[in-house]
């Protein structure tokens, strides 16, 4: 039942069948205040139902939040749909109510959470994730899911995880290789040496549009809706004034004024209706898309980091290779010398200060090694005087060598140690590179595909939203027109009669 690695083949559980084979829509049918224990704090539980089946469960907002977070950790390279935002501190201060007591907010959450679930279901990857199915399962406790694999084996840092399907490697879980200390962690400021041009463009564009959506579009459309709400209240008052007025008049005049009052009352109702419709069919989708822009920013950032990780691994690997080469060379040189020396010792003629030779020989590797920029190559010999010349340096290096000779009894053993360590490190790095490079390629492909899919979805959504906007206005105008034309008929009758 737990298919943690595979994404393409489905888990074929009941939920999966209900969603994909039968293509059911997920409904949030209700929201109820409840509490776990008589003295416990109350919360709102949202009832989830799939299609017309009996499959129904309930979840609270915090569980949705946790579920979404899990999805983003499991699939850091996919665009996970947003959920309605948490009530911020500012909102608490302003409204002084908790969300659970604020009915319109609860309604809004119902709508947006429903949209969220259906978007996840529609996603080619996310919809098949069994964690998602378990979230929808009736009777399933969410904390159980949280504490069992795959969620329990997720690394904290998604960069330490493999995402694509690869032989002999488990995906979406803690990967030992990648978590080793040897693997570098890129910082956010790392500049790619070979950036991918497609994604460079995407990143710039996404940044701009995320800004624009939140600060410009969302703000201005919200203003319109708020003002319409205020206008509706004005109309209510105006209608009351007209009605009061008509009570003080008699005859045809009173009739006419009363009818005007009724038309204005109708305007109030219709304007209120328009506000509600605009909220649900336009304002909320705009908000969603503003959130989406931010999400895409995050996903692109992840891919960027992955790319950085690969580059850094490669760099480190190359550095280690250089180190190893140097060490091996040194080893060879030393061997050669030893052989030469042994031969010469047996001959016994020219006594050579082996130590001196060793020391001078030793100096060179330091020089080359210290020239390399790799910071992870560490040696016991701290001396880096190779580049310098001059009297004082000679003294220092002499002192250094003396010290080293005191500490390091056996330079050969050290060197062999180092060679071994470098070889091991290189092995790990190579393994990591072998995993991450194809992973990066897979991520890039997948991400590009998801971006394209999202773009299509976005265009469709936008179109639907704008059509809804227009239709809501039409409906409003038609209704108001209807009421005012009724008025017109009456006043005409009054005038015609002799």
């Amino acid at each position: 039942m737990s298919n943690r690695n595979s994404l393409k083949p489905t888990c074929d559980c009941a939920i999966d069948r209900a969603l994909h084979r039968d293509e059911n829509y997920i409904f949030i049918t209700g929201a109820q205040k409840q509490s776990d224990s008589p003295s416990g704090k109350s919360y709102i539980a949202y009832y989830i139902r799939i299609g017309v089946n009996d499959i129904e469960t309930k979840r609270r907002y915090s569980e949705f939040e946790s579920f979404r977070k899990a999805l983003t950790l499991l699939h850091p390279a996919l665009i996970v749909p947003p959920i309605p935002e948490k009530h911020s501190l500012v909102d608490y201060a302003a409204l002084q109510t908790r969300v659970k007591d604020d009915l319109p907010m609860v309604e809004k959450r119902k709508r947006m959470l429903q949209t969220f679930l259906n978007r996840v279901a529609k996603h080619p990857e996310l919809g098949k994730d069994h964690v998602f199915h378990r979230f929808l399962e009736s009777g399933g406790s969410w904390s159980d899911v949280l504490h069992s694999p795959p969620l329990s084996t997720l690394p904290k840092n998604p960069l330490q995880m493999v995402i694509s399907k690869q032989p002999d490697v488990q995906a979406h879980t803690f990967n030992a290789v990648l978590s080793s200390n040897l693997i570098p962690t890129p910082s956010a400021a790392y500049q790619l040496k070979n950036p991918d041009p497609r994604f460079e463009e995407s990143e710039k564009f996404t940044f701009r549009i995320a800004n624009y959506m939140s600060n410009n579009l969302d703000k201005s459309q919200r203003k319109v809706i708020r003002r319409l709400g205020e206008l509706a209240n004005d109309y209510a008052e105006l209608g009351a004034v007209y009605n009061g007025f008509s009570l003080n008049e008699t005859g045809a005049v009173a009739n006419a004024i009363e009818k005007v009052g009724q038309a204005v009352d109708a305007s109030y109702t219709e304007t209120g209706q328009m506000v509600t419709s605009l909220e649900g069919e336009f304002a909320e989708p705009i908000q969603e898309h503003a959130q989406f822009a931010q999400i895409i920013k995050q996903v692109l950032k992840f891919r960027h980091m992955k790319h950085a990780q690969v580059e850094m691994i490669e760099n480190t690997l190359n550095n280690k290779k250089d180190t190893l080469d140097n060490l091996l060379r040194m080893e060879n040189e030393a061997k050669r010398l030893e052989e030469a020396m042994t031969r010469e010792r047996t001959i016994g003629a020219n006594a050579v200060n082996v130590d001196e030779i060793n020391q001078t020989e030793d100096e060179n590797p330091y020089r080359t090694m210290s020239n390399s920029s790799s910071s992870t190559v560490r040696l016991d010999r701290p001396s880096s005087s190779g580049n310098w010349s001059g009297g004082p340096m000679k003294v220092i290096s002499a002192v250094g060598h003396t010290l080293q000779n005191i500490i390091d009894v056996n330079p050969e053993a050290t060197r062999r140690n180092q060679i071994g360590m470098s070889k091991d490190a290189m092995g790990v790095l190579q393994e990591a590179l072998d995993i991450t490079k194809p992973d990066l390629a897979a991520i890039s492909t997948e991400l590009q595909a998801d971006l394209d899919r999202f773009q299509t979805e976005k265009i469709q959504d936008m179109r639907d939203m704008l059509i809804a906007y227009a239709k809501i206005h039409i409906r409003y105008c038609q209704k108001v027109l209807y009421y005012y034309s009724k008025l017109d008929m009456i006043t005409n009758i009054l005038l015609i009669e002799p």
């Binding site: 549009i209 004005d234 008052e237 227009a470 108001v480 027109l481 005409n492």
Partner: protein, 455 residues
Amino acid sequence: MAQLTDSQFNVQWDILQSSDNGLLDPLNEMSNEPAILSSQNCFTESSHIDIDISDKKSNFSNDSNSSSSSSVNIPQIIVKVKEPRKETEQQSTFISYLVESQNKKVRRRFQDFVWLHNVLYIHFPACFVPPLPDKHRLEYVKGDRFSADFTEKRRISLERFIQRIARHPILGKAEFFIMFLESSEFNDASSRALREGQETMMDTIGDSLLNAFSKIRKPDARFIEMKEHSDLMEQNLDMLQKTLLRTNKRYEDLCKDYQEFTASLSGLSDMEPAFQSFLIPLIAGLNEYTKHMNQLRLEDEKWQIEIQDYMAYYHTVKDVLKLRDQKQLDFEELSDYLVSITEDKIKFGENSGVASYITDKLNEVRGADADKIKRERLNKMDERVKEIQEAIDQSLHISTGFSDQIRKEDTFFNNNKSTEMYDVLKTYTDAKSVQVWRNVVQALEGGQDIDPNFL
């Protein structure tokens, strides 16, 4: 002689009583005889009008039943005020308006309208002279008095003013009004008439006993009702005006918000070319919509002006009512005076008492005919009182009768017309809005099936 005095005396009392009844029920009297505005009356020197108001009586006694059957006998004087034009004359620049009536077209400026209002107000204190539009001092200070907006608003108010006068049975036939409509040497004529008017006014003031602080003894329920109704109307209109002001301001802000939103959408379509195919029709649609909204707003502003004019009208009503109260006060004072004269006369005629005996003797010595003198004096007194009474009665009859009637008729017609106008225009602009949005949806849905609900 005593008999004569007695009968005369009786007659006096009768007159007093009957006129008392007349005060309470001017309407009933009027149903039997047309009220005649005689030339002796100080109101106007020129007009002698027979006005038959008998058929209009039904309007105010069966108010609630007359909704469908009320007759609107409005003299069909069609007057229009149009074409405001900037003119310069000598040192001053002003706006002149074309006043078009059935026979003639003349140009008049705002000052001329002011003159017309004042002269009618002075000469017809019993009538409700429609109010003039505000002087709009603020616009003068700001220098906006030549702006198209301002002149249009003023033109509408002036047209309404002239139309109301035209419809008024008395004011519409006043010489001043006709002169206003038709005279080509207006400025000389107007100053002459004004002088005359002012002189006439002096006479009337001299005659009445103005006592602002005493209350009338027999307040008439009808007029109290009228006053209360005016107060109520004023309150209602005031509240209506305030609410309308607030609503219109909000609507104006809404128009601006829509414009900002449209600008945001334009920005979005620049950033995401993929959206352009459907954003552009929506943006065009929104622009059209905002245009229509602004038109609607202008119509609402005109409605506001109507309300303002109405409030001024009710002020006028209240003033006339106050005047009526004063007249009644005068009447009551004069009635008291009449009573005291009559008592004097009685005493005079009784010939008892030493004083009168001596007076008689003295008169005999003088050679005057005591009786004749007495009779003459009595007659004079009677005549005087009668005159006064009649004058007062008539003024009451006319002012209450006509004014009441006219107010009702005017209210009815105006309300009707205003409401109708307001709504017709609102309908018109609303219709255009719907069409605009239909076009937008069609453009957006493009080749797909168009939702039949919206066709």
